[in-house]
């Protein structure tokens, strides 16, 4: 029985979860650091507890503080949002032992998904395509050279415990492999306390495609189509869309079928996302599972009509997936999301500060998820996401037109934002044609720079 939920997060996602709770008639408790005292998630929760100073490690990542806040407010469940404690299996376990429901997969499942090499093997076992690579962990550089010679260069060496690019090396020939292997091992050991490595074929300029999973406590698994997140800069996603212009209905169906089987077998519950790379031939290869709600979940909500956060809560409440979905999942139209960050649109340096003026666009086909307001402060301690702007249209062209219109109407003053960057990307003919991959932004920025240099020289 869930009646009251603590949201162990801040910013737009905390407010997003509060909204889903309100829609279900659940009471909410916000937690906040001293830097977030005047945040909207504090404003709109039924109760709010200060859990520590600005620094995340002492507040939003402080497990005892979060659990204590849950205990003194008598909540039944905790929703972790994304980031912070959302994929921390230890936290999920502490919740369990404290008699509080953690809204997400079971700790053992999250832990399994965190061991990248194990997750990869698990997926392969159920017919989810993986990249050619080592069959299990690599013990020595020699073993790595052997595998690489079989699958062909370039290869990528990855830390099994990895994340955020640490312990990861792209290797283009046998000569440099041993040294890179040792470095990756040391880096992984230092970062994660575990030097386990594996290796895979490296795909140049892949597309980033991910599938949305929902699974209830009774073995029902549903795949809610895919998102394409190829528009990213240094692994930071900027623009996401659903469906992907590169995924055919046949590919979607085949991949979904394999994923359903795999996730049912794993005993996965609640929401999750399966990341793939797509090579130039249109083949998908499994990369990893994110065992939480994603920043970009609203594009899936737009095209499926399913409230994913509400679904998370209902799954935790013991509802059955067929009741939650209310019918077969159908993809309708096309949705695109721009992440509006408080950062300089050219240099990308973060730009915290006070918002002096604000106009959030609305109107037909537009959704905004945000927690900012005029005179509100973007603190420098957390990530720079200030708003998600989502457009939904009959097709990709209509979604793009609506998004461009909404960006024109998006005004934020007092801080720099990435609005101008999004305007330029959405005006780009290659983007408009759907010719995108994870190197798009780099090429785009280089083109822009070259054009400016040419103009300056003329």
């Amino acid at each position: 029985m869930i009646r009251k939920v603590l949201i162990a997060n801040r910013g737009e996602i905390a407010l997003r979860v509060i909204c889903a709770c309100k829609d279900l008639g659940l009471k909410t408790v916000a937690v906040y650091s001293e830097a977030d005292r005047y945040s909207l998630h504090v404003r709109f929760a039924d109760e709010a507890v200060c859990i520590g100073p600005a620094k995340s490690a002492l507040s939003y990542l402080n497990i005892p503080a979060v659990i204590s806040a849950a205990e003194i407010t008598n909540v039944d469940a905790i929703h972790p949002g994304y980031g912070f404690l959302s994929e921390n299996a230890d936290f999920a376990e502490v919740c369990q032992t404290s008699g509080i429901q953690f809204i997400g997969p079971r700790p053992d499942v999250t832990r399994l998904m965190g061991l990248k090499e194990r997750a990869r093997a698990e997926m392969a076992r159920h017919g989810v395509p993986i990249l050619p690579g080592s069959a299990g962990l690599l013990q020595t550089p020699e073993e790595a050279v052997e595998v690489a010679s079989q699958i062909g260069y370039p290869v990528i060496i990855k830390a099994s415990a990895g994340g955020g690019g640490r312990g990861m090396r792209i290797v283009r020939n046998a000569g440099e492999l041993p040294a890179q292997f040792i470095q990756a091992q040391q880096e992984s050991q230092a970062a994660f306390g575990c030097g386990d490595l594996y290796c895979e074929k490296f795909v140049e300029c892949p597309r980033h495609i991910e599938f949305q999973v929902l699974a209830d406590n009774y073995g029902n698994v549903e795949i809610l189509g895919e998102r394409e997140c190829s528009i990213q800069r240094r692994h930071q996603k900027l623009i996401e869309e659903s469906p992907s212009p590169a995924v055919t209905p046949e590919l979607r169906e085949r991949t979904s079928a394999a994923l359903k089987q795999a996730f049912a077998a794993i005993g996965y519950t609640n929401a999750g996302t399966v990341e793939f790379v797509m090579d130039a031939l249109g083949n998908l290869f499994f990369i990893e599972v994110n065992a939480r709600i994603q920043v970009e979940h609203p594009v899936t909500e737009a095209v499926t009509g399913v409230d994913l956060v509400k679904a998370q809560l209902r799954i935790a409440m013991g509802h059955r997936l067929p009741d939650i979905l209310g019918g077969p999942v159908v993809i309708r139209g096309h949705a695109i999301e721009c992440r509006i960050n408080a950062e300089h649109p050219v240099t990308f340096t973060p730009c915290p500060g006070r918002i002096k003026a604000l106009n959030l666009p609305g109107g037909v086909g537009i959704r905004v998820d945000t927690a900012v307001y005029v005179d509100g402060v973007i603190p420098p301690y957390y990530d720079s996401l200030i708003a998600k702007l989502i457009a939904h249209g009959h097709d990709r062209d209509e979604a793009i037109a609506r998004l461009r219109r909404a960006l024109d109407l998006f005004i934020v003053e007092g801080i720099q934002s990435s609005v101008p960057l999004h305007q330029r990307i959405l005006a780009d003919p290659e983007f408009q044609a759907g010719q995108i991959d994870t190197q798009f932004v780099q090429r785009f920025l280089e083109r822009s720079k070259a054009r400016e240099a040419a103009l300056a020289g003329a």
Binding site: A35, E47, V49, C50, I67, I72, P352, D375, P380
Partner: protein, 164 residues
């Protein structure tokens, strides 16, 4: 800050043609907005954004989202809290406040007690762990603000102390 000081500031603002001025002595905040141009260049710049001053929130937050202290803790009377000579002892962690080591045992401290650094003031229970909270200053306890068994949030004032 006296009325004269405020009058003085008003005069300065008028004389210099500044549009907005915000001063805050506690934690040293300055905010100056110059009129003129259309975009209001800030003359003096604040070093860091001060999360404590958010007009919209100041208007709107307190009534609707009661903090843990509002809804659950005791509310100290105004006079004491605003006495500038008193020091407050904040809760260093979130949890449940206990004034004694066990039910029926003597309280750690009472109003009027003299304390010095290291003196145990109370226990805050967090995740079933009993954390002894020690004094960091020397002085006399003027007010105990939280009732036994009540929850406290991070930074919530537990005691008011007259230093000496």
């Amino acid at each position: 800050m006296t009325l004269d000081e405020i009058r003085d500031l008003i005069k300065t603002v008028c004389d210099t043609g500044i549009a907005e001025l915000e001063v805050q002595r506690g934690e040293n905040r300055v905010w100056i907005k110059r009129s003129g141009g259309s975009s209001g260049q800030e003359v003096t710049v604040t070093q860091s954004p001060a999360p404590t001053a958010a007009p919209f929130a100041q208007i709107s937050v307190p009534p609707a989202a009661p903090s843990a202290s509002d809804i659950m803790g005791a509310s100290p009377d105004e006079a004491d809290l605003t006495d500038p000579t008193l020091k407050s002892v904040p809760a260093p962690i979130v949890g449940t406040y206990y004034e004694a080591a066990s039910p029926g045992a003597d309280r750690f401290v009472r109003e009027g007690d003299h304390i010095k650094p290291g003196k145990v003031l109370c226990i805050i229970e967090s995740m079933k762990l009993m954390n002894e909270i020690e004094a960091e200053i020397t002085g006399t306890i003027v007010k105990c603000l939280v009732e036994n068994g009540q929850p406290v949030e991070y930074g919530e004032t537990l005691f008011l102390v007259k230093p000496n």
